[in-house]
Amino acid sequence: MRRLSWDRIISILLILPSILAIAIFVYGFIAWSGWVSLSNWDGLRPDLSWAGFVNYAKLFATPRFQIDIRNTVVFTTFFLGACIFLGLGIAILLDQGIRGENFFRSLFLFPMAISFIVTGVTWRWLLAPGDPATGRLTGINVLLGNLGLPLSRWYTDPTVVYIQPTSAVGQFLQQVGLGFLTTPNFGIPLAMFSIVIAATWQMSGYVMAMYLAGLRGIPEELREAARVDGASEWQVYRHIVFPLLRPVTLSVVIVLGHISLKIFDLVAAMSKKGPGFATDVPAYFMFETTFQGDHYSQGASIAIFLLVTVSLLVVPYLIYSTRREAEV
């Protein structure tokens, strides 16, 4: 056995306080939530008797939770897509060596410094739709109205776009046994796009910064070599730049993905559950179930569900990156 050197003892002692704190306040409470989610605690008084997985069974049978999962998928998809598209686009433009790059970089990055609550309240006002029938418009709709553009109901729009069972595609899906795809639970709630706009406004600058750093990391010689080989500017991006940016994209997906799965504050400040739960998310459902409905075990099961989904995203990434570090 290796002798425990003095240095080693010191280093263990030095990290001991933080290990203890994390063990109790992070992992201890995760275990506690897990336990509560398997208990009968319904009502204000704790009741930690064993219930098994009934809370989870009940959860997945709850229509509101099914809607929440749909909303999370829609939000994550469009939020990630918009952020990557805008972030990469702006980064490439800024990378062209324009004048005042520092100014623009700070300008685009700045929204990230604002709390989601402030973003939510501001965009709630901006996207308040007013009432076109009586000509009383508010927020961005005033602008759209003056420009003669079509108005939107923004986050007050209860419409869910989904494949109609009577349409040609719908009939085909039903014939091949995929009829469940023709229900609103597999649709896109239009109100969610307002949340996507606000979240993208806030986070795309951050994505831009990450891509900009990635672009700066690509050696100029590689691009030059490609150009010498007769590649067009588009081909340089297509075959040199984008493949080399893949690790950045992965980081972006992980960082934004876990934000979007856990999102609470933006929705709470902006539209809450929305019309017909059109902007409801699991974290908001968890808040109401636990602290307004007093269903503590049910709330804990939502918390554990969120933890598992985020882990599904983060853990493989951690394994992948530690392995890579070990190789290097």
């Binding site: 030095l14 009502g43 204000l44 308040a128 739709p129 007050t156 307004q292 007093d294």
Partner: protein, 422 residues
């Protein structure tokens, strides 16, 4: 000794010192500075002014007590109540907190054993003689009193703009038929008939309770909360159908507005009416709107849907002596007469001087004496919080899809889940 070992020794000393500090016994509390922490969601306009007035009166009597005004903003306490629960469950209760009388107080805090009974205070102050019997019933459980009501609000009021009504020769509707006839006329004039601001959904639940009472009358309405009136019955269906029809006449951006923004539409003459509790009166006064008219909503003349803010004594309140004096002030004639005209509510006591109150509140005081009093659903008097949460979820879907059958099934199920219906 090498430099490296020296560093290690020094770090070790630092770590040990930190551990020692962490393990040090808590300092013996210095003779506590007299404090009083009052938790509420009164943060805006008249309600904040009323609360500060009470603090002022308290400090006149006890100048050495420092009052901590612990508020969490948000209509109907939707944000404040979770914050309170976290504190109570964590063993850090405020000295006293605002809580709605009725099931919200009883089911959330009393049956779970978080409150102290206040029987002695009620006897000392002779409150059994001055509070109406109906109120005493609602705040008692198991033969004890659990909180001191400061005020009474009425949930069922239809507010309108007198100028707009006079200019068009309109009268406030007494029945649902009259309501819809009037709504058609308003629509023809380009006025939104009914303003609704239901961000956070409770305003829709509020509208629903008023329609329920207007459809089935006070006795059957009360029966809904005890399991005697059938949630699957024809009256509930009729109420839902009426509500679905009413929603046709509502501003389409209702889920973006709060109740006071909906009231703004009435003030500006852009909407004809709004059905909201009588805190609208304080909002109108604060905004300098003098042409406000009011009437009981269709079918609820003679019915007073009541809610009340009360304060109680949590077990383990850090400054017990100061709280009891606070509660004494809250229940006193002096306290209620100072608080209520500002808050825009009427006294829970019977003996307040009507001359102190504005024109709306005077009529409310008269109605309070003669109407049938029933508890409010959206504001915690009629049903437990978990039941209200379930009904809110049903309403969230209903205002969007207006599917009467589905909503009724959901309401019946909620009553079962709440343990009231079988």
């Amino acid at each position: 000794m090498s430099r490296r070992t020296l560093w290690s020794m020094m770090s070790l000393v630092v770590v040990l010192a930190m551990l020692l500090v962490a393990c040090r016994p808590a300092p013996t509390p210095t003779p506590a500075k007299k404090q009083l922490e009052i938790f509420s969601w009164w943060t805006t306009g008249g309600e904040a002014a009323g609360l500060l007035k009470l603090f002022e009166l308290y400090n006149q009597k006890f100048p050495d007590v420092e009052i901590i005004n612990a508020t969490v903003a948000g209509g109907a306490g939707f944000e404040a109540k979770p914050a309170l629960k976290a504190r109570m469950l964590g063993g850090d209760p405020p000295d006293s907190f605002q809580v709605h009388m009725g099931r919200e107080l009883i089911d959330t805090w009393v049956t779970t054993g978080y409150m102290e009974p206040l029987d002695d205070l009620f006897k000392q102050e002779g409150w059994e003689a001055v509070f109406p019997k109906g109120v005493l019933e609602i705040i008692s459980y198991d033969g004890h009193y659990w909180s001191v009501p400061v005020n009474i609000h009425r949930a069922n009021v239809l507010w309108y703009n007198k100028k707009v009504f006079e200019a068009n020769g309109w009268k406030p509707p007494e029945t649902f038929e009259e309501f819809f006839a009037l709504a058609e006329q308003m629509k023809a004039k380009g006025i939104t008939p009914l303003a609704l601001g239901d961000v956070g959904i409770w305003a829709s639940t509020h509208l629903f309770e008023v329609i329920l009472a207007g459809t089935m009358g006070p006795e059957k309405y009360k029966g809904l909360w005890t399991g005697q009136t059938d949630w699957n019955g024809p009256e509930v269906r009729q109420a839902l159908e009426t509500m679905a029809k009413m929603l046709e006449y509502v501003n389409p951006d209702h889920s973006a507005l709060s109740w006071d923004q909906a009231n703004d539409l009435v003030i500006q003459g852009k909407a004809g009416m709004t059905i909201m509790g009588d805190w609208v009166d304080a909002d109108n006064l604060a905004k300098g709107f003098k042409d406000s008219g009011w009437a009981p909503p269709p079918g609820t003349r003679g019915v007073f849907i009541a809610l009340s803010d009360t304060f109680g004594l949590p077990k383990g309140a850090p400054h017990r002596e100061q709280v009891i004096e606070w509660l004494r002030l809250c229940g006193s004639k002096e306290g209620q007469e100072a608080f209520n005209p500002l808050k825009g509510s009427i006294c829970a006591r019977n003996d307040c001087n009507p001359e102190l109150f504005g024109p709306y509140l005077k009529t409310a005081m008269e109605d309070w004496q003669k109407d049938v009093v029933v508890p409010s659903l959206a504001h915690g008097a009629a049903a437990s919080e978990s039941w209200v949460t379930m009904i809110n979820d049903v309403m969230t879907v209903f205002v969007t899809d207006r599917d009467v059958a589905r909503a009724q099934a959901g309401l019946a199920q909620a009553c079962k889940d709440a343990g009231v219906c079988k």
